[in-house]
């Protein structure tokens, strides 16, 4: 019987050499005359083990990793095709604690299936949600999503069902579903992983959104920094169209829905929903003032659902298993599961999907295993470049939208970036301002000018120029940006800056003037 050997095609696995490993595996199979085929799966999300080569032996997947090209021959000498023992052998992959303790609802298939095989997708539960939605009245689909408690996983945390209901009730000649795949936050890669590892789940989620709201056209706006995701999504959309999942009659429901993949052009602010809409329309990615809400007047002034990748990819399982099933995970008003992205200076970095509610310290220390450098953790930035830096003293904060807000932080897209004790928090605060200055769309003054002034002020503090006065000025600038900016870019940049000043005051302490030291 032919053996299947899995070598990931996920961008992070490729960045760690998966392509060359796949070539070496192919050569060994041919040279040894082994009856085996290679499957290029997505990633399981355990990046310290990538490239993770797996082999299916009597229904179980045995893993080897991290595999380098020079290890491949030895792995075959040890009998890789039959799960033979070797120093890199990890045993059954599903049994590894990092995977075993997760609750994978959205990522259930990622790393498991062939990303572009519809047969594989269906064999692992795919399309069950869309089939059910196609038999339901649109309002009932919306109700199901509302009752699941799903909130936008892109960062703002707005209830998805309410957004959908607004579009369902809105009057318009055309309606659109726009998928925000402009995942530009440092520390986040869940969107990329799902698009590369299980693209059909996003297509299914968008089709459900289309049926639920009466939208007939969907756009996936993917950032240009993700060429592999763009390629996989484009191919998957084509396959889905050919199989009647998209097109004039979705799954023979008589209702039309089509998807087009679009590539961004390197502007972080286009992750903000109204900028993204302008960009799709072929304009500068400048923020729009709200109201009108995109749900009333979005893309080309038509009612538009705009959701993040993970929000839409979470919908199929909700329709498949029901709102109650999903809602039963989580805590407080944070329901269901959240794909945590553990990144930066960390031993066990990767994707960890779990119900809301784990403490930050548990995530960083136990699951992440602490820093990669082995030094003590000093700060953890949650929620991307606009998220707050948390010190160890806040490690008991549970992962929950409200609990983070109560500590002046945000969950955002659930990216968690860990820093060891060598980090200079004044430098990080300056970077936050600098990033905002580079990426500001320029529409509103607090963001456009405040960020540049922020960089200058941080530099003065670093040079010891009137430190007390400049710290007060920086705090004042943050206040103006927070309350005066039109969108989250200017409005949230104060989070990393203020949190750095609050929790790490020593790094902002006056240093002697350079002249004085000479």
């Amino acid at each position: 019987m032919s053996v299947t050997i899995y070598v990931p095609r996920d961008a992070a696995a490729l960045a760690l050499g998966a392509e060359k490993v796949a070539e070496a595996v192919t050569q060994e199979i041919a040279a040894r005359g082994i009856d085996a085929k290679i499957m290029r799966n997505g990633s399981r999300g355990m990046f310290w083990l990538e490239p993770l080569v797996e082999v299916e032996v009597s229904g179980k997947r045995i893993g080897y990793g991290p595999v380098k090209v020079k290890d491949v021959a030895a792995l075959f000498d040890a009998g890789l095709e039959s799960g033979g023992d070797h120093a890199l052998c990890l045993g059954e992959v599903e049994g590894l604690p990092f995977l075993k303790e997760q609750t994978r609802l959205t990522f259930a298939r990622c790393g498991v299936v062939d990303p572009l095989s519809l047969k594989d997708y269906e064999a692992h539960g795919g399309l069950a949600g869309l089939r059910r939605a196609a038999d339901m009245a649109p309002a009932d689909v919306v109700k199901e999503v509302t009752e699941s408690g799903l909130r936008g996983r892109g960062g703002a945390g707005f209830p998805t069902g309410i957004k959908w209901k607004t579009v369902l009730d809105a009057v318009g000649e055309r309606k659109y579903i726009v998928c925000n795949a402009d995942e530009g936050d440092s520390g986040t890669f869940a969107d990329r992983m799902i698009m590369e590892g299980d693209p059909f789940v996003l297509i299914e989620g968008m089709a459900i959104a289309g049926l639920a709201t009466g939208a007939t056209k969907g756009f996936i706006y993917i950032r240009s920094e993700y060429p592999h995701a763009i390629a996989t999504m484009t191919e998957a959309v084509e396959i889905a169209g050919g199989a009647g999942i998209l097109g004039a009659s979705v799954l023979s429901s008589g209702r039309a829905f089509d998807i087009e993949v679009r590539t961004g052009a390197g502007a972080y602010v286009c992750g903000e929903e109204t900028s993204l809409l302008n960009s799709l329309e072929g304009k500068r990615g400048v923020v729009r003032a709200k109201p009108p809400l995109p749900a009333h007047q979005g893309l080309f002034a038509c009612p538009t659902v705009i959701n993040n990748v993970i929000s839409l990819a979470s919908v199929p399982v909700i329709l498949e298993k029901g709102a109650v099933f999903y809602r039963d995970f989580g805590m407080g008003r944070s329901r269901g599961t959240i794909p945590l992205q553990i990144a930066g200076n960390v031993k066990h970095g990767g994707l960890y999907e779990t119900a809301f509610g784990l403490s930050l310290g548990d995530i960083v220390e136990r699951i992440g295993g602490g820093t990669a450098t082995g030094r003590p953790v000093k700060a953890v930035q949650v929620g991307g470049p606009l998220g707050a830096y948390f010190p160890r003293t806040l490690f008991d904060t549970p992962f929950d939208y409200e609990a983070f807000a109560a500590k002046d932080g945000l969950i955002g897209h659930a990216g968690i970036v860990i820093f060891d004790d060598t980090v200079d928090m004044l430098k990080q605060a300056r970077f936050a301002m600098e990033f905002c200055a580079v990426e500001s769309c320029g529409k509103c003054t607090p963001c456009r000018i405040g960020s540049t002034r922020g960089v200058e002020t941080a530099d003065k503090i670093a040079q010891g120029i009137e430190p007390e006065k400049n710290r007060a000025l920086l705090a004042d600038l943050c206040n103006t940006m927070k309350f005066g900016s039109l969108c989250a870019l200017g409005g949230f940049t104060p989070y990393p800056v203020t949190s750095a000043m609050t929790h790490f005051p020593d790094d902002f302490a006056p240093t002697p003037l350079i002249e004085a030291a000479e």
């Binding site: 961008a11 992070a12 490729l14 960045a15 760690l16 990046f47 310290w48 990538e50 995942e183 530009g184 936050d185 440092s186 520390g187 986040t188 890669f189 969107d191 990329r192 056209k217 240009s224 920094e225 993700y226 060429p227 087009e260 679009r262 590539t263 961004g264 052009a265 390197g266 502007a267 960009s279 799709l280 329309e281 072929g282 304009k283 500068r284 990615g285 400048v286 080309f300 992205q341 990144a343 930066g344 200076n345 960390v346 970095g349 990767g350 994707l351 990669a372 930035q381 470049p385 990216g415 970036v417 860990i418 060891d420 980090v423 990080q428 970077f431 990033f435 580079v438 990426e439 769309c441």
Partner: protein, 159 residues
């Protein structure tokens, strides 16, 4: 990629690109991407052609082209090396990698080496945050960059 394209040729080829893509909803970004793919940059001469074909003002097309980081108004080097400058990569020594790369290549960010071998660009996140620091050379990804990777990348662009 051809840095020496005759003006008439640019207009003609741009018109063909617009013709193929104009039926898209909001076609300007796809057109600019395609023009950049065709010429390696967005030639100054292409903008009035796009504007007239799409019935937009020249200012509008210019405004869009200059808003986005991806579009360049002059040819890049033979290789384009993008280094991630975002927080996750910073936490793993990304700043030191950037400094070393600048020194070895003799260029700063947004610059092309004098011999035309490489253009160095900053990028804010490649989604490789769990295997930082990261870079992309001509679309190929590199994670956990160390001294060896830096040496390999420099050798690659100099080849």
């Amino acid at each position: 990629m051809n840095a020496h394209v005759a003006n008439g040729d640019i207009a003609e080829r741009t018109r063909a690109i617009v013709g193929a893509l104009r039926s898209l909803e909001g076609p300007l970004l796809p057109i600019l991407h395609e023009v950049q793919d065709e010429f390696g940059y967005v030639p100054h001469e292409a903008l009035p052609v796009i504007a007239s074909e799409l019935n937009l003002s020249r200012a509008e097309v210019h405004g869009v082209m200059t808003f986005y980081h991806d579009y360049r108004d002059h040819p890049a080097g033979r290789h384009v090396l993008k280094l991630c400058r975002a927080e996750a990569c910073q936490s793993m020594g990304g700043d030191a990698v950037a400094d070393r790369m600048k020194t070895l290549l003799g260029v700063d960010f947004h610059q092309t080496a004098l011999d035309g071998s490489v253009t160095l660009e900053p990028v804010y996140c490649l989604g490789l945050c769990a295997c930082a620091p990261a870079a992309m050379l001509d679309g190929e990804l590199y994670g956990r960059i160390d001294d060896q990777t830096i040496a390999d990348l420099v050798a690659e662009v100099r080849r």
